[in-house]
């Protein structure tokens, strides 16, 4: 049983039911006075239906403008142990692979200097440490760097790039997402730690169109693996699916193809690859028989964001196909051109997607020196932004 400092009837209610409960998890650490005050403050917020946190300010570690999100309670006299409750973002390893030793190291550092509460992982992809005081920030940073970790991004900077675990675990990865993610993280250390943009800029890398990191909806620059030749078909495996009888290939595969490019005559499966939109449905339901083509690369999309200052945007295609191989010079040239333009002409708190909407994609493409392509559509099955005189 936890030694509760405050009665928390409303929070207790959130522990009921079969689903995971953040209250239950917080209470596991309730021996800490900081966590007890957190529960008390949270209960107060539920009672009064008002948040009691302020965020921002001057907190950080010397030389860095990102990685620490200052958080203060507006009831410091009543809940003194959470009067400062800063969040720290720690740059996660690509694909979120850890050794158990690394996880213990992180938890030990956090137990020594913070509340012990973590969020593995935040929506940015970072390891998130929840709740510490200003005086603990430099010691935490020193210990993290000594253990080989660094802070992630926050504020108007390039946010910590993230990726799916790609070729490490998935046969559908069309490029090495982990290598790409690590490369951009190392290349853009200055942009990650020293905010110089109008607002945040997120890069997320998915190995195939399944887009397991949801980059198309969440990142300013989304890099999604794809292929430009034919889907690979193993006719023997197709036959096995048909004979097993668990999958109705005609109805569940050909019938659900969004562009109706699959033909199934009961024995042979044929695909009109020129009209395939790479939705991955057929590959997902027949993984033993179908796989992405051999000529693999990525599509680069631009402009997604969640609703903050303005409404949500989905990313739209910027580069239909690019071979993604180290040292990724073409991608870096593109990033530099976009950042130069947006950093100079973007309004305060204007994401790059909103900037493109304001100036128009045609002007944006002209300024960054990219030729328009018919694949540049606002959303699937719409006309491109660019109109051609044929």
């Amino acid at each position: 049983m936890t030694d509760k400092k405050y009665p928390t009837p409303l929070l207790d209610d959130l522990e009921k039911g079969p689903w995971p409960s953040f209250v239950k998890e917080i209470k596991k650490s309730a021996k800490s006075p900081m966590v007890q005050d957190l529960l008390g403050l949270l209960e107060r917020s539920y009672e009064e239906k008002i948040g009691h946190w302020k965020h921002g300010g001057l907190v950080g570690v010397q030389g860095y403008g990102g990685g620490v999100i200052g958080r203060y309670s507006d009831l410091p006299a009543e809940f003194p142990d959470v009067s400062e409750f800063h969040t720290i973002r720690v740059n996660q390893p690509s694909g979120w692979f850890y050794t158990s030793d690394a996880l213990r190291t992180l938890c030990d550092i956090w137990d020594r200097h913070g509340s012990g509460l973590t969020n593995m992982h935040g929506s940015t992809g970072d390891i998130v440490f929840l709740g510490t005081k200003t005086t603990e920030l430099e010691p935490i940073f020193s210990e993290l760097t000594a253990a080989g970790f660094d802070l992630g991004g926050s504020g108007s900077d390039m946010r910590t790039p993230s990726c799916c675990n790609g070729m490490a675990r998935c046969e559908w990865a069309c490029y090495d997402t982990m290598a790409f993610c690590n490369d951009v993280t190392q290349t853009y250390q200055d942009e990650l730690h020293r905010p110089a943009f109008p607002y945040k800029f997120k890069i997320k890398a998915s190995g195939c169109p399944n887009d397991c990191v949801a980059s198309i909806a969440r990142s300013d620059m989304s890099v999604i693996g794809t292929w430009r030749d034919d889907i690979q078909i193993d006719p023997a495996a197709v036959k096995e699916y048909a004979l097993a009888g668990k999958l109705d290939i005609g109805k569940d595969v050909a019938g659900r193809c969004p562009t109706k490019v699959i033909d199934w005559d009961g024995t042979t499966l044929a695909i009109d690859n020129s009209n395939c939109v790479k939705c991955m449905h057929c590959i997902n339901v027949m993984p033993k028989a179908l796989s992405p083509g051999k000529d693999r690369g990525a599509t680069i999309l631009i402009g997604a964001k969640a609703p903050i200052v303005q409404g949500a945007l989905l990313a739209s295609v910027l580069v239909p196909f690019i071979k993604l191989e180290q040292p990724y010079e073409d991608v870096k040239e593109l990033i530099a051109a976009m950042w130069d333009l947006w950093a100079e002409h973007g309004k305060n708190r204007e994401r790059i997607g909103e900037f493109i909407q304001r100036i128009g994609l045609g002007n944006f493409l002209e300024q960054i020196g990219l030729d328009p392509a018919p694949e540049m559509v606002i959303q699937p099955r719409t006309n491109p932004y660019i109109f051609y005189n044929l």
Partner: protein
């Protein structure tokens, strides 16, 4: 005009930040644009980037977050 160095641009940025303190928050790009306007061809974005880094590393300035990220005078500098 003499060729600028990261240190001289950092000093000019610091002076600008002092002038604007309490009146307007400045972003890194605001400082960069002002320095390029002030020094012309003797200054560029890369030089400004290095200058801001100098201001941060010697603790004369720090970053603040007020909706966006700004470069501000470090209230603890010299204490």
């Amino acid at each position: 005009m003499p060729a600028q160095t990261p240190e001289s641009v950092a000093d000019a940025m610091y002076a600008m930040l002092k002038d604007y303190a309490g009146k307007k928050n400045l972003k890194a790009m605001d400082l960069t644009k002002a320095m390029i306007e002030k020094f012309g061809d003797d200054c560029d974005k890369q030089l400004c980037k290095s200058a801001i880094r100098i201001l941060m590393d010697d603790a004369r300035c720090t970053y603040s977050y007020v909706g966006g990220s700004y470069v501000v005078l470090n209230p603890d500098y010299g204490k």
